[in-house]
Amino acid sequence: MTSLKTRGLFYKAYSYLPVIFLFVSVLNEFDFNYLNLDFFSFNFPFILIFFFTLKDFKNIDYLLVFLAGLINDTVIGLPLGISSLSYMLICIATSYFRNITIRPNPVKDWFYFLLIISLINSLNYSILTLFFSFNLILMNYLVNTFFTFLFYIIFVSIFKYYLKGLDD
């Protein structure tokens, strides 16, 4: 059986899939809003960035994450730099968590993720309401945080399959 690595271009594209997904999701604001479920939304970029930076995935460049944040702000209509700051804070948190963790545990990661996204969403909400006088519904942020937390574990299992495919 031919391994992925020997296929050259295909392997390269496959190894850059998280970056591609990150950019597609920020450009498309991939959150199933059209399902018209009240308050339902989740933040896919948060999950993706958290997981791959925690795994120290080599193709996730911080600069690309930063640019994805700028694009996200432009698409949503937030002041430029807000999402970039959020994404960078996730990267710092994962980097710190990686440094202090000797034996990784998925459940610990999951709850650490909840803590981080809660802090970041609180920070986002505070900046937007206090400094930019935006009127926002807090409930939207809370539900978004909750669903992002729930979806994390689902996406993690998918991402693990992806990483396994990459190692093979």
Partner: protein, 406 residues
């Protein structure tokens, strides 16, 4: 203790500053850069503005391209759903169209009159032109309700330009790029529109709720009791942000535990928008444009005259129709009156017959009883106890079955 603090500091320092071989920037640099951009984007510098416009143009177009597959799936689902109700909707629309056509003429006259009056009040002549714009990005974010349209400063779109879905107000432009613009929808929490609620003629401000309705604010307590579900909401034009008289929605009353809540139900469904109209308004100073006004004034007057002539013709036609109908109704009334008279005569005859029948019945009874009791009631020569035949007393006696003293 000191060791654990050192570990923490090392971990933090490493998280902020350490960059592996593939990373071009450390996280600390990028965090500072993010904060720098946040501050910079809020300074209204010309260079920053142009840079922002450039980024917006590029990102909006990219977002449009990337959203094509998702939009295709969404639209296909919507189309299939629509096909199932097409015929019924077609019939309803046809009926509505005929109604609207008749209303259109008077509406146009009002518009011309309105225009003339406004020209008299203001010191400028305003002319508006609606241009069609396609929505290129509509992600229906739960946080901010806005859309991106494919018209920008190149097409004379300005910040504040009113955006319509048909003739209904949907929002206003809050960001203008060269070929694209961002429209803040009325449903957004940051959207405030001064409105008039008719027919109660109440002035209020409606604020987006983040959902598909708006809240009514800044009205006196108790005044909302006057609202009904028939009340319509249109822009009042106060503050000159929105044009006056643009329909927005209808009042929706929700009753929970005997507490009435009032919302504005938008005429337009913001989640179904594909194309919108942007109203480009050009103002010409009256003094500078005196000559132009004289020429232009002739135009609305002519148009108004033509419309009035049309309306007159329609009224005459309607009058003729009414006259014909009136004549028909008159002859019908006469015919019905005659019929009533003949029925009355018939009733009289029948009444007479019944009366005669009753008399005959009484007579017959008298004759029958007469045969039986005539002996008892007749007067005799020897005993003067009875009555003379043919007298009312005699008849009474017969009817009483021969009882004389009753």
């Amino acid at each position: 203790m000191a060791s654990s603090r050192d570990d923490f500091i090392i971990a933090i320092r490493s998280a902020f500053l350490k960059k592996s071989t593939q990373q071009k920037f450390s996280l600390l640099t990028l965090v500072f850069f993010s904060i720098f951009i946040i501050v910079l984007s809020n300074l209204d510098l010309k260079a920053v503005r142009y840079l922002k416009i450039g980024i917006n143009e590029l990102v909006y177009r990219s977002s449009f391209v990337v959203s094509i597959p998702e939009n295709f799936i969404k639209n296909t689902y919507k189309d299939i759903k629509d096909y199932t109700t097409y015929f019924r909707e077609y019939r309803n629309i046809k009926e509505e169209l005929s109604e609207f056509k008749s209303k259109d003429i008077s509406s146009e006259i009002t518009q011309y009159e309105n225009k003339e009056l406004k020209e008299l009040i203001n010191d400028y002549v305003s002319s508006s032109n609606k241009i069609l714009a396609k929505i290129i990005v509509d992600h229906d974010s739960p946080f901010l309700k806005s859309i991106i349209i494919n018209k920008g400063s190149k097409d004379n779109i300005k910040i504040g330009t009113n955006i319509y879905d048909q003739s209904y107000l949907v929002g206003r432009v809050i960001e203008v790029n060269y070929k694209t613009s961002r429209v803040l929808l009325l449903s957004d929490l940051n959207s405030n529109v001064p409105v008039t609620i008719a027919p109660e003629n109440i002035q209020a401000i409606i604020t987006g709720s983040g959902d598909d309705y708006a809240d009514i604010k800044y009205i006196k307590q108790g005044i909302s009791d006057q609202f009904s579900e028939e009340s319509i909401v249109y822009s009042s034009g106060t503050g000159a942000i929105f044009k006056s008289g643009i329909p927005i929605g209808k009042i929706k009353i929700v009753e929970n535990d005997q507490i009435k809540k009032f919302y504005v139900d938008f005429y337009s469904d913001f989640s179904q928008l594909k194309y919108v109209f942007a109203e480009i308004i050009t103002k010409t100073e009256l003094e500078k444009a005196d000559q132009q006004i004289t020429d232009n004034q002739q135009e609305p007057i002519d148009a108004k005259l033509k419309l009035l002539e049309d309306e007159l013709a329609i009224i005459e036609q309607s009058n003729m129709k009414f006259k014909d109908e009136n004549e028909k109704l008159k002859s019908q009334v006469n015919y019905l009156n005659n019929k009533i008279i003949s029925f009355q005569n018939e009733t009289e005859i029948q009444k007479e017959t019944i009366k005669q029948f009753n008399i005959d019945t009484e007579e017959l009874e008298f004759l029958r009883l007469n045969l039986i009791y005539s002996q008892k009631c007749q007067s005799r020569k020897l005993f003067n106890t009875g009555f003379k035949v043919g007298t009312p007393e005699y008849k009474k006696c017969i009817m009483n079955k021969g009882k004389i003293n009753d």
